[in-house]
Symmetry: D2
Subunit: 344 residues, 4 copies
């Protein structure tokens, strides 16, 4: 065994922070060295999280109390803006950021979509966009890895191979997305109360969700031309899970498209192209780092329907972060991430 | 008060049948005269339905035991094929059918999508497609009213005014639909068990759902040209509710589209165009006959997003059936349907 | 028709206030004259509530802006303490309070359980404890009606007839209670977020819930001796509904107990004793003012299990409040409350 | 590493069978050698289970096709009666049975509660009741391990230490139990449809659940006297999880009771006595083999409230089965079971 990787989790009182800790607990090479949550500093994780009520973990501290010199890898699980501000002061450890701050390459685009100037624009050039399956070459030397947003992860896993193969059009990509409520975080908003969400469904951020520029940036780069997507996310009464249904223009038949996906992901441990006709479902991947993808014929000539599902907190966030750490440090990518999906 | 309208509900052991009975119980002009369910004939509604455990109702009988001469209106809540076979023998009462059997005008289209020849093709010419807001003129003299499917109801309420106004293109209409589980009926399928559906979401009948030809038939007729839609339904872990998100091509700006919808529905008691920017949600209409509609700008030039929500069992089924009966018999359309939505 | 009853709802931004408005909308004799919510004064109900997004209603005001002289009945839907403080200044209208402030007869008991002195102890003598089925005689002349808590409503409907008949022991009554999340109100607490509650269950306020003294007060009065109960409430992932399972000591067999309940409730429109062996369930009463009750033999000799279910927001709160108003003003008790339960 | 343990899972098309496979997949010493499901023989696990859609696993076979000589451990995940009938023919492998067939020591009691004579009464003497924490000494030499029922697991973990210490009375133990829907299995019953269960709660098998004699058998043995319990289970709208609330008679104060539990479980890896005042919750243990327990003061003198929570499919079934296998074969008990709980 290699010597333990000492990690710090910044923002351990949020859902992505907690899920990162959950996964780290059974990762054979990780030692959880520090957990920060400024507003809850001094509290135990046991008092903040039901599922850690009986788990020995370091006390929550303020981020500025962490001795960076003792840390190998920092996981940033903070809200955007706060993340860049803090991480710009972290010298020494490798950084894996789960916020939106290092995903967009252009500071101007960031400023437009995230309501303000970027806190650390100089760092943008040092960041690798960490959709692991498409970022491997760059990870071992990356100083900062920007983990993709949950929606972009699902969308890109479904579309990137098809875009790269020029098998689908760069225009008129229509994405409909469904997310569990954990995607909204643990902050106190009336809209996230059980009674507002249960036994109901609704769209939100219609036509203006912050994950749109990120999706377009990555698709455009691979397509070699500008891609613009229609994107409508919906909130579904479930804790975890994300499913994207994407109608695309294509001259290929569905078997060709399926073949492209299957070929691209044949060796991937976490991305699974389902047998023809099998519909992706969030229950296939709940609680796991797996993603499922498939493509279907549409009755409308010249169209196909690509569908992908992930657990938004795992492959869409904390699991992919650990997968990136594994790749960054030369561990097998599946280390600590082998749990099967939880069903029912 | 007019003398009571004596109704028979065929298929009272299914969810649409039960919801029709629920609404009929507080309709001031309805007398529930007969309830049929061949497989459960001889049982009480109290033994078949939890919410009728304490409600006095006629015993379930076989349909062939009903004295049609004593019935004013028959509500058909049977599965397709069984419905047409039975209703073709009903002489006397007015017929309001909630199955798919009289929705499609062409028997050939029916045969293609519903796995077999139509059981009573001669009756198709006597049927009125009962999307009430667009069918009023024909209802008073209709012998058979075919209540629209739940998805077509939501889709058409959102799109018909825009199609009629030539404000949106007839091509490239992309519909994403979300439905509660009651849409799948009360039949015993593993796929509908709580444990298979809860805390999860998945698409089904991708690109081949039976409501597609019905949607296209009605859109094409109003558009004056063939319309083909991409349609992907998803199962959401909630009992009731349906929401459709429709990306359309348009040369109009969103204010114009909103104005068209608002103008069309200004006098409608059950269809509500929300204020600009307010997202339709199933929780707005749960348990009620109301529908909510709105339209949003897309970032992609030349596109807009139309969204509509209904309760699939009420406006999408039994409520609209009663609304049709009211219109057919000259009662105010809102009679017995005035309950506000149930939230939370 | 009698002239409209002009009502004011204080606290119309909470769930009980909203459900009172929902029911008032279809009450044939009610005119909604004023709606208050101090923190949201100036906002529309449409902006505060999804299901009123399209319903014309008075603007929210501050309570002190209401002209009491124009109001016939005030419904208090405020938190405890705030309610008594405000209602003590209401002169003129009849008062129906849904808070805890006028339920306990002793100001000292109130102070002990509700963290502070009662704001208007002089009014306690003017209050009638409004469990309608047991309070009818006093309602027509009551100045203030204190609507029972949701748990006490379910518990008392199950136990009072048995206690009055001396059919069960006054000791060792063990109550286990299950509630939907709306019972926790619409306030912003992490504990009520969807993600904290869904796909989970837990007890709370174990052995110290504020409804205990209220239950004991009413049981003791009818029993003619002190009654102390064990009471453990649990939060269940559903919006509405409440079910209490009560193990009691008895020398009677279950048929006798069933007979006592049946006899007592034979003429009641809203309380239903189920057939022997049929288990009460919240789905039997969802969204309605109905209550279901039954009693079961226990294998332990000398014990029986009494079970009752209600919708916590209707019979457990706003529905019972309107039932009380009906009784107070001489209307048929069922006026405006006849909707059947919503299932599924 | 020891050589792989080759296991067969009988009944791999049910929820306990599937959860056993899920856990076995990441157990470092297990090789899944055979999976049976007579009604689905010849199908793949991928076609039967959504979460195994992309997992390579042996094809489902008939049980009588398994070569017992090649199997080290058989896990019986069959319904009662079928299990004993089949397992009586298994010669060679160690047997871990998850059905009810080997839990009751007396064939007569079994016959009374399980509707028929025991299929293999001669084997009862060879069976160890496998509540691991209380069965360790007997496991290494056991031929058959009978895994406890899910309710008994939770109840006994909460009560056995208190009964052994004579700290609580053997009479008047009142147990209220809440279970997720997976406890009902994957069989097609109307009662388990999503729409019948969601947004609702109800009791079932009131006073006559089959887990009662099992609970009483184990409590009586440890108490040294006959124990009879009142037991009422309820179905809660969640997939997994079980919580029992038990009111007991005691002369001890709650600190003493807490101390007894804490002392008993201090060294246990899976049973956690929470800090005083912290309420057990199913979300603390979801998807994991952990159990949480606590005890609370009741306001009624001489009573206390003991509460325990588990995941019914893991510690209440398949997880405990693997824990038993580990103990039986001399592996560390936590092998393959270290995953933390999944929250949210």
């Amino acid at each position: 065994m290699i010597s333990p990787i000492r990690i710090a989790v910044l923002g351990a009182s949020g859902y992505t922070g907690a899920d990162l800790v959950r996964l780290a607990l059974t990762h054979p090479n990780i030692e959880i060295a520090a957990l920060s949550a400024n507003a809850k500093a001094g509290q135990t994780m046991a008092s903040v999280w039901p599922h850690f009520a009986y788990v020995p973990l370091p006390m929550l501290t303020r981020a500025d109390e962490i001795d960076w010199g003792s840390i190998d890898v920092v996981f940033g699980c903070l809200p955007h803006a706060a993340s860049a501000a803090l991480l710009s002061e972290v010298i020494g450890p490798r950084i894996i950021d789960l916020s939106a701050d290092f995903r967009l390459r252009e500071a101007a685009t960031y400023a437009e979509w995230y309501d303000g100037a970027h806190a650390a624009p100089a760092l943008l050039d040092h960041a690798v966009y960490g959709l692991t399956e498409f970022a491997r070459a760059a990870l071992p030397t990356a100083r900062i890895v920007a983990c993709p947003g949950c929606y972009p992860t699902a969308v890109l896993l479904g579309l990137l191979p098809l875009v790269e193969a020029r098998a689908i059009g760069a225009e008129r990509i229509t994405i409909n997305a469904l997310s569990g409520v954990s995607g909204a975080g643990r902050s106190l908003k009336e809209a996230n109360l059980f009674t507002e969400v249960a036994e109901a469904v609704h769209p939100y951020a219609i036509g203006r969700h912050r994950h749109m520029p990120e999706i377009e940036q990555e698709l455009s780069q691979r397509a070699g031309q500008a891609v613009t997507v229609s994107f409508t996310p919906h909130l579904v009464p479930m804790n975890r899970g994300e499913l994207v249904t994407m109608v695309v223009e294509t001259n290929c038949d569905v078997a060709e498209l399926h073949g492209i996906l299957e070929h691209r992901y044949a060796a991937e441990p976490f991305v699974h192209v389902l047998a023809p006709g099998v519909a992706p479902a969030t229950r296939m991947v709940r609680g796991s780092n797996h993603a499922v993808v498939n493509v279907f014929a549409d009755r409308v000539p010249g169209r196909a329907i690509v569908i992908a599902a992930i657990d938004n907190l795992v492959k869409g966030s904390s699991g992919q972060a650990i997968q990136n750490m594994n790749a960054m440090l030369g561990l097998p990518e599946t280390t600590g991430l082998q749990a099967a999906a939880l069903f029912p």
